[in-house]
């Protein structure tokens, strides 16, 4: 039970933190101007030179291995919804770490996503 809780924390908190590091790196890298594979590869290549990418990748890799272990003994339809609590962590991180303006509409959206996730978990 303790191990399961720890793995969920790794997936939710560390995984979301890693995604926010990626977001920070992409904001520094610049915008994808055209939806073409060559432009996408070029932009991703530029992004690899930003340190936040590597911090994010390390955090996401830790979360990924935790997800692998969780999926070995828990049902996919339980693990995926619980890990969706990262939306709350993501909303807060967007404001304080990325400096985004999270409007009331977005918070309602995030809140509904969390309620939806809770319903899915209760339904287990």
């Amino acid at each position: 039970m303790m191990l399961e809780a720890l793995l969920f924390v790794m997936v939710i908190v560390v995984g979301t933190g890693g995604e926010m590091c990626l977001a920070r790196a992409m904001k520094q890298t610049g915008e994808l101007e055209r939806l073409r594979p060559s432009a996408a590869i070029k932009l991703l290549g530029r992004a690899l030179r930003v340190k936040w990418i590597w911090i994010g990748v390390a955090m996401m890799a830790s979360a990924f291995f935790s997800l692998l272990l969780l999926l070995s003994f828990e049902a996919l339809s339980f693990v995926v919804p619980v890990s969706a609590l990262n939306y709350l962590v993501g909303g807060l991180g967007s404001m304080f770490f990325l400096g985004e303006h999270v409007s009331w509409q977005r918070w309602i959206g995030i809140g509904l996503v969390c309620i939806g996730v809770t319903m899915v978990v209760i339904a287990k």
């Binding site: 309620i115 939806g116 899915v120």
Partner: protein
Amino acid sequence: MDTRLRLKTYVLIAVMIVANPVGTLLIAKGMKHIGDVKFWPLPALLEVFGRAFGTLTIWAGIACLITFIAANMLALSMADYSYVQPAAALGYGVTAVLAVFVLGESVSPLRWAGIAVICLGVSFVRNTHPRTTEGRR
């Protein structure tokens, strides 16, 4: 410019909501077929990872997740994290459908209702501007 930004963001989010559930599903299927999983001692855990990475299904899942990450990064190059992340929650609907039709898991009416609420939440987020930070065009 606003329409173009939205269009590009929607396309990338569409890739995300398909690639992520499919990747997770493939990894789940792969992990269920590798046999007993031991967390301790460390060599036993490493042996588990060795068996996992020797499975084709796991690698297919990883390829899907890499596609998801690339689409996610590209979307984040032009849209807010607090926009992209909730919008990608539409993937839960795809996950439920895959769980029913591929894994044979049962999905109760309450769970479907939860997924509907998630979709409603995503629609709220969709109505906001994708980018609120500097460089907004």
